[in-house]
């Protein structure tokens, strides 16, 4: 009887230990996933940002240590036809985008070459998308995506030429259910701030912006690199071996992102 009780107690203690180990492992995997996906999401969004120093244009609209408002790229491709109120984008290997452009929410950025013998007048011209995207054809009969716009001066554009669509976005910390999350909001789409990844610790998204020389800057058009840190924590405190309330599990990941289109 004594042997039985002792062995049963040992088995029970082992099972309690295993339950704690597996719960901790599950939470640890969760917070690791949070920091990985959080840092990759922010990095992927900001990496495509276009920036021209010296008071030039910037896709970074507003920058703080815990939020960033920017024009996020959604589609890219090459034009196959340009009219006064329409841009046709060739579908195929040169086109990429995870969703179709949406009127009002997205805007067009079309490369205007101007004088083809000079780079001085080259610029990206922002145009509105005034109608739903529709399927169409290029002059050579290939499949195309037709976008309705206005105010386009046909002579300024070479065809084929690069074209992108952009959406005004904000990434920031948001609170949901008493917990903090990395939130995303489409400002041009009149969306609300949605929790995307988390939970994070208080101040779990940290952004530091540097210029060409690696010096911290608060001027959006001067930003060349962004140091981002994502800090996550577990959904609930861990339980101790004695059954008491332990500490929250925490993890963090730091990453430097170079703005690929910054000049």
């Amino acid at each position: 009887m004594i042997i039985f009780v002792a062995t049963a107690s040992l088995i029970y203690a082992s099972m309690r230990l295993m339950e704690k180990v597996h719960r901790t492992a599950s939470e640890r995997a969760g917070i690791q996933l949070t920091v990985r996906s959080g840092s990759q999401t922010v990095a992927a969004e900001l990496r495509e940002v276009n920036n021209v120093a010296g008071g030039g244009t910037s896709d970074l609209v507003a920058i703080t240590g815990s939020s960033v408002t920017y024009w996020g790229m959604r589609n890219s491709g090459m034009t196959c036809q340009v009219n006064n109120n329409e841009v046709r984008i060739r579908m195929g290997p040169t086109y990429s985008g995870y969703r179709l452009p949406v009127m009002i929410r997205d805007s067009l950025l079309v490369f205007a070459d101007g004088d083809s013998l000079s780079v001085a007048d080259d610029q990206w011209v922002q145009l509105p998308i005034l109608g739903p995207a529709s399927t169409s054809t290029c002059p050579d009969g290939a499949a195309a995506l037709s976008l309705t716009t206005a105010g386009l001066v046909v002579a300024d554009y070479l065809v084929p030429g690069p074209v992108r669509t952009f959406e005004l976005m904000q990434l920031a910390i948001t609170t949901s259910g008493g917990r903090q999350y990395l939130g995303a909001q489409s400002l041009s789409g009149f969306g609300v701030m949605e929790p995307v990844i988390g939970p994070l610790t208080a101040g779990g998204l940290q952004l530091v912006y540097q210029d060409q020389n690696g010096t911290p800057t608060t001027i959006p058009s001067a930003v060349r690199t962004i140091d981002l840190t994502v800090r996550s924590q577990s959904f609930r405190p861990m339980t101790t071996l004695g059954g008491g309330v332990g500490a929250m599990l925490r993890d963090s990941l730091a990453l430097r992102v170079l703005l690929r289109n910054a000049r």
């Binding site: 062995t7 088995i11 295993m18 180990v21 492992a25 640890r28 060409q212 730091a254 992102v257």
Partner: protein, 123 residues
């Protein structure tokens, strides 16, 4: 009237055999828990290593674009921090460079090395 000597229940031998089988199962589960912990720790090290490598390569891309002609400021080097050590070599000439980044991290007795290769364009 006959009386049987057998009573309902388990013998001590049967109970000990059952406990033995159960113990083997629990030991196997404990071993699995240990493996999970090691895999999680390795995953964290790999995540940190890939973030370090990506950051270093972006630093080199910035250096490549910051000079005229481009890539003239890109060179091999090494660095160490609380997270671990890294070294990178830059090879090639002309319009591109090949960067080989080696990151070494340790956590307790566990060590992890990761090698990442990337191409820098020199426009």
């Amino acid at each position: 009237m006959s009386v049987s000597g057998r009573k309902d229940g388990f013998t001590l031998i049967e109970v000990l055999i059952a406990i033995g089988i159960l113990s083997v199962g629990i030991l196997a589960l404990l071993q699995t828990a240990g493996s999970i912990t090691v895999m999680l720790r390795d995953g964290r090290l790999r995540t940190t290593a890939s973030a370090m490598a990506a950051s270093r390569i972006d630093n080199l891309r910035l250096a490549a674009a910051s000079t005229t002609p481009s890539c003239s400021a890109v060179s091999s080097g090494s660095a160490s921090s609380l997270r671990g050590t890294e070294s990178w070599t830059v090879a090639g000439a002309g319009r591109s460079r090949t960067v080989t980044e080696i990151v070494n991290l340790s956590h307790g007795t566990r060590q992890l090395g990761m090698t990442v290769r990337a191409t820098l364009l020199c426009p």
